[in-house]
C-alpha cells in the first residue's frame, strides 16, 4: 500500500486477520475525505487498538504531491439495500460471503432485505442472520429490514412490534411492492407508531407482468416485452398518496422509496419533499451508470449515451454495440432505463432528492442466470463495484469525490436518522473520520485499476454486467468497528 502504511494486528506480526482488532495502522500522505465535517485534503491517519487515534490534515510543503487522484481515505460505506440470501438461498450468497464482498467494496455496514426463505418476518429469522454474521468472523455490521407482511405474502402484517424490539431498522416487502394500498396504509401507521419506516419497492405489477426490459427503443428493437416507466410512476404516486393520508393519523409515519429509476418518479418525490412529506429515496449505481442499451450490447456509460438535448443517443447509429446482446446479468428490477433516466437519477442525487446510493446487491446462481433473458432472475451483484462505478462518474466530472463518498456514508446515515426509533441507534451514527471513535474506514487507490472478473468478486453472485471491465479505485483496506474487514492481498 502506498504511500507509506503499516498495518499490525493482535495475532501475528504479519498483520491482523479478518475480524481481528487492528492494533496499529498508519497512513501517511493520503487524500482524506470527511463527509461529516465536509473537509477533504491531504492528511495522515493513525489507528491504534482499533481506535482512530489521530487524523492530521497536512498543509504547505507536507501536503505537496498529495492529490485526490491517488490513495483516498473515507469513512466505511453504509449500504442501505442488499440481499445476502441467507437463510434459504445460500447457493447464491451467505451472510459470510456477502460480508466479505461488502468489505471488498469498502462497506462496513450493510442493511439486508427480508426476502429470504423463510422471509424475515419474525425475530427468529433475524437471530439466524445475526448468528451467521457472528460465525463469519467478519466485522461488517449487518442491519436488517423486517418484512412488511407475514411471509411477504401481502395479506397481513408481519410481527412488526417483535421485529422492532429485536432491532430491525424498518420494514419492506422488497422484491415486490406492498401488495395493496390498504395494507400499505396499515403498515405505515403501525411502523410509524414504532418509529420505523416502510421501505418500498415501487412497482405496479399489473403493468410489469411478463415484462423484460425498459419499455423503450431498445426493447422495441430487441423484441423484449416492455417494462414501462409508468409502472414505477404509478406505484410512487400510490405510495405518496397513502403516506399523506397516513400522516394525518400517525405523524411518525415514514416512507423510503428504494432504487428509483425514472425521471418522472424522481420528480414526484422531489415535489413531495418540497411539500414537506417525510419521504426519502435512493438510487443505485447501475441505474446511474448503465442504460437499457447495454442489453443490445452497448458498454458505454450512461452519460456517454446522452445526446446534446438530454435525450438518449442511438447505439445502433453510433456503432456502439460491442458486446453480445441479451446478457442476463443486465436483467434487473427495476430495469435499466434510458440514458436520460440515468441522468435524472444523477440530478436527483445532486439536488438531494435522492440522498443515498444503495447497491441493491442481488447475487444469483448460474442456474438462475444462465438461461434465456426473459427467464433469468432479476438482479445485479453490485456491492463490490459500487465504488468503482461512482468513481467513473467522478472521473467523468459528473460527481465530486466528496459527493460520491457522502452518497455512500452520510447520505444513508441521514436517511436512517430521520426514522424516529432508529435515530438514536448506532445505525444512524454520523459516518465521518472522527478521532477517538472506533476506526471505521476504507482506503482505496484511485490510480489503481482493477479488473472485474468472476475470480476477483468475493460474492458468490458473479452476475455482474461489469465483468470483463476495469474499474478505478481498488480497495486496499477496510476497517469496520476497529477490526480488519478486508485487506488487498497485494497491499
Amino acid at each position: 500500500m502506498s504511500p507509506r502504511a503499516k498495518t499490525t494486528g493482535a495475532a501475528s506480526a504479519a498483520g491482523p486477520k479478518v475480524g481481528e482488532v487492528v492494533e496499529r495502522f498508519e497512513l501517511e500522505k493520503a487524500w482524506l475525505v470527511d463527509p461529516v465535517s465536509g473537509r477533504e485534503g491531504p492528511g495522515e491517519i493513525v489507528v491504534r487498538d482499533g481506535v482512530l487515534e489521530s487524523v492530521v490534515w497536512l498543509e504547505g510543503e507536507e501536503a505537496q504531491g498529495v492529490t485526490d487522484k491517488g490513495v483516498v481515505v473515507g469513512p466505511g460505506f453504509f449500504d442501505l439495500h442488499a440481499h445476502f440470501r441467507e437463510p434459504g438461498f445460500e447457493d447464491a450468497e451467505t451472510v459470510a460471503s456477502g460480508s466479505a464482498a461488502a468489505a471488498h467494496g469498502g462497506y462496513t455496514t450493510v442493511a439486508v432485505m427480508p426476502n429470504t426463505s423463510p422471509a424475515l418476518d419474525d425475530p427468529g429469522v433475524l437471530e439466524r442472520i445475526r448468528s451467521a454474521s457472528r460465525a463469519s468472523g467478519s466485522p461488517v455490521e449487518i442491519l436488517a429490514f423486517g418484512a412488511v407482511s407475514a411471509g411477504r405474502a401481502g395479506e397481513q402484517l408481519s410481527a412488526m412490534g417483535e421485529l422492532a424490539d429485536a432491532g430491525v431498522i424498518g420494514y419492506s416487502d422488497d422484491g415486490a411492492p406492498v401488495k395493496t394500498p390498504k395494507l400499505l396504509r396499515s403498515a405505515l401507521l403501525y411502523a410509524g407508531m414504532l418509529g420505523l419506516p416502510v421501505v418500498e419497492h415501487a412497482e405496479d405489477i399489473e403493468l410489469t407482468a411478463a415484462a423484460e426490459a425498459h419499455d423503450g427503443y431498445v426493447a422495441s428493437i430487441l423484441g423484449l416485452q416492455g417494462w414501462p416507466a409508468a409502472a414505477e410512476v404509478n406505484a410512487v404516486s400510490r405510495d405518496l398518496g397513502v403516506l399523506a393520508d397516513a400522516l394525518a393519523d400517525e405523524p411518525r409515519a415514514r416512507l423510503h422509496l428504494t432504487h428509483l429509476s425514472t425521471a418522472a418518479s424522481l420528480d414526484l418525490v422531489r415535489r413531495a419533499r418540497a411539500a414537506g412529506l417525510p419521504v426519502t429515496c435512493d438510487v443505485t449505481p447501475h441505474h446511474l451508470a448503465l442504460a437499457d442499451e447495454w442489453i443490445a450490447g452497448s458498454r458505454r456509460w450512461s452519460w456517454e449515451a446522452l445526446s446534446a438535448d438530454g435525450g438518449s443517443r442511438d447505439p445502433w447509429a453510433d456503432g456502439a454495440l460491442t458486446a453480445w446482446p441479451y446478457n442476463t446479468s443486465l436483467r434487473v428490477n427495476p430495469p435499466l432505463r434510458t440514458a436520460a433516466d440515468a441522468a435524472a437519477c444523477l440530478a436527483a442525487l445532486l439536488d438531494g432528492t435522492a440522498s443515498a446510493v444503495v447497491t441493491d446487491h442481488a447475487p444469483h446462481t448460474v442456474v438462475d442466470k444462465e438461461v434465456e433473458f426473459g427467464r433469468a432472475s432479476n438482479g445485479i451483484s453490485g456491492i463490490e463495484t459500487a465504488l468503482g462505478v461512482l468513481l467513473a462518474l467522478v472521473d467523468a466530472g459528473k460527481l465530486s469525490l466528496a459527493g460520491a463518498i457522502a452518497a455512500l456514508t452520510t447520505g444513508p446515515a441521514a436517511i436512517v436518522a430521520g426514522w424516529p426509533a432508529a435515530a438514536a441507534t448506532p445505525a444512524a451514527r454520523k459516518r465521518g473520520l472522527t478521532e477517538g471513535a472506533p476506526a471505521d474506514l476504507v482506503v482505496f487507490d484511485r490510480a489503481d485499476r482493477w479488473a472485474v472478473t468472476e475470480a476477483s468478486l468475493l460474492s458468490k453472485g458473479k452476475n455482474s454486467p461489469l465483468i470483463g471491465r476495469e474499474l478505478s479505485g481498488r480497495v486496499l483496506l477496510t476497517i469496520a468497528g476497529g477490526k480488519l474487514a478486508y485487506e488487498d492481498p497485494q497491499a
Binding site: 427503443y217 423484441g223 454495440l321 460491442t322 458486446a323 453480445w324 438461461v371 434465456e372 426473459g374
Partner: protein, 356 residues
C-alpha cells in the same frame, strides 16, 4: 468443377462441398441485422442456385453430405420446421429433429444443458425456434457449431425475412426494391417477422410502411422516428400508421400478419370481427395498391380475419411461392453457414466490429 463467378464473391457449384471460396464469414445467422447488403445479395444469388436444384427432377445434391443438422423447436411450428428439414435433406445433410414435447426439456432441462448435450451428440448446425426473445444468442454462446435462428420470441425470424425479400425481388422489375412501397399490416408488436423485415427491407431501400391498431404498434413509432433521418448506416427510414388505406395505397407489396386470438384476452383488441372490418386485407383495400401488386402472408393464415379468403387465393397472392422459396433460402443459408470459416467463439466472428 465449374465455378460460377459473382463479382468478388465466388460461389462454387452447389454439387460440390462448400469451399473457402464462399465469401461468407458469419458463423451463425441470428438475425438479418448483422448482415450487410452485399451479404444479403450473396444469399439471394445462392438462393437462385438452390431454386435451380429444386427445379430438377431429383432435388437432392450432396453438398452437405454427412453434415449434421439438428432442429430444436421450443414452439409449435409446421411449415418452418418442415421447410428447414426439407432444405437440409435436399443438401444430403443428416437431420435430427427435436421438439420440446418429446425431449428432456419437459423434465426441466435448461436450454444451455440441452445445447451442450446436442453438441456432444454431434450436432453441427442447430436450427432453433424459441418463444423467448434472444434465446438463440444464448445458444450461440455455448454451442460449438452454427446456430440458425428459426424464430425467437418477438425478436427475429431472419429466414422468413430473407424468403420474403427473395419473393418480392422475383416480382419486381430488375429485382430492385428501391423506392418500392411495401405495406405490412397486422400485429406488428408481437411479430418477429415484422422486426426482421424492418432490417432487411430498409437495407433494400424499400418504402416500408407498418400498419396496425395502435395497441399492436406499440414502440414502433419511436423506432421509426429514431430511424427517420437515416440515422442507421445502410438502412433507410420506414413509416408507421394505423390507417390501412394510407399504408396500402399504391403499394407494390402488401403483406398481412397473423392476428392471434390471445390478443383479445390481453385487452389489445375488441374482437376479431372488428379487426377484420378495420384492418383486414379485403379485395377493396387491396385494390388501392398498384394493379400489379403482390399479396403476401408468412402463414399460418386466419382467413377472414387478417386476410379475406378471396384475396388469399387471388392471382395477386404469392403465399405458396413464399413457402416454396423458403426451402431454397434455407438451403442457401445452410450451405453458406456450413462453409463459413471457423472463428472460435461467437464474439470473434465480429472481430471488434459492431454487432448489429
Amino acid at each position: 468443377m465449374s465455378v460460377q463467378a459473382y463479382g468478388a464473391a465466388g460461389v462454387p457449384e452447389i454439387d460440390s462441398a462448400p469451399t473457402q471460396e464462399v465469401v461468407w464469414h458469419h458463423r451463425h445467422l441470428l438475425d438479418v441485422d448483422a448482415l450487410t447488403w452485399p451479404e444479403i445479395e450473396l444469399i439471394m444469388r445462392t438462393t437462385d442456385e438452390m431454386k435451380g436444384i429444386l427445379a430438377r427432377p431429383i432435388r437432392k445434391v450432396p453438398a452437405l453430405n454427412g453434415r449434421r443438422v439438428t432442429t430444436l423447436f421450443y414452439e409449435a411450428s409446421t411449415r418452418t420446421r418442415v421447410s428447414f428439414e426439407t432444405a437440409a435433406r435436399n443438401l444430403s445433410a443428416d437431420v435430427v429433429s427435436i421438439s420440446t414435447a418429446t425431449s428432456s426439456v419437459t423434465k426441466g432441462e435448461s436450454l444451455v444443458d440441452t445445447i451442450r448435450t446436442l453438441e456432444a451428440l454431434g450436432a453441427e448446425i442447430l436450427v432453433m425456434r424459441h418463444s423467448v426473445s434472444g434465446a438463440p444468442y444464448l445458444a450461440a454462446e455455448v454451442f460449438g457449431g452454427h446456430v440458425l435462428n428459426g424464430g425467437d420470441g418477438w425478436h427475429a425470424h431472419p429466414t422468413q425475412a430473407l424468403l420474403d425479400l427473395y419473393t418480392m425481388r422475383q416480382h419486381l422489375p430488375g429485382g430492385d426494391l428501391r423506392g418500392r412501397k411495401v405495406a405490412i399490416v397486422g400485429d406488428i408488436l408481437h411479430s418477429r417477422v415484422a422486426r426482421s423485415n424492418i432490417w432487411s427491407l430498409t437495407a433494400a431501400g424499400a418504402d416500408l410502411w407498418l400498419c396496425g391498431p395502435a395497441t399492436l404498434l406499440r414502440g414502433m413509432d419511436r423506432w421509426a422516428t429514431a430511424w427517420g433521418d437515416g440515422a442507421i448506416p445502410g438502412h433507410g427510414r420506414f413509416h408507421v400508421t394505423s390507417d390501412v388505406e394510407v399504408a396500402v395505397r399504391d403499394a407494390d407489396v402488401v403483406m398481412a400478419l397473423r392476428i392471434q386470438r390471445e390478443r383479445m384476452q390481453g385487452g389489445l383488441l375488441p374482437s376479431l370481427r372488428e379487426y377484420a372490418a378495420r384492418f383486414g386485407l379485403n379485395a377493396e383495400r387491396v385494390s388501392l395498391a398498384k394493379p400489379e401488386a403482390i399479396v403476401m402472408h408468412p402463414g399460418p393464415m386466419n382467413e377472414g380475419v387478417e386476410i379475406a379468403p378471396d384475396v388469399a387465393v387471388s392471382g395477386r397472392a404469392v403465399i405458396t411461392e413464399q413457402v416454396a422459396n423458403g426451402v431454397a433460402v434455407r438451403m442457401a443459408l445452410l450451405y453458406l453457414l456450413a462453409g463459413a470459416h471457423e472463428t472460435g467463439r461467437p464474439h470473434d466472428a465480429h472481430s471488434g466490429e459492431a454487432i448489429r
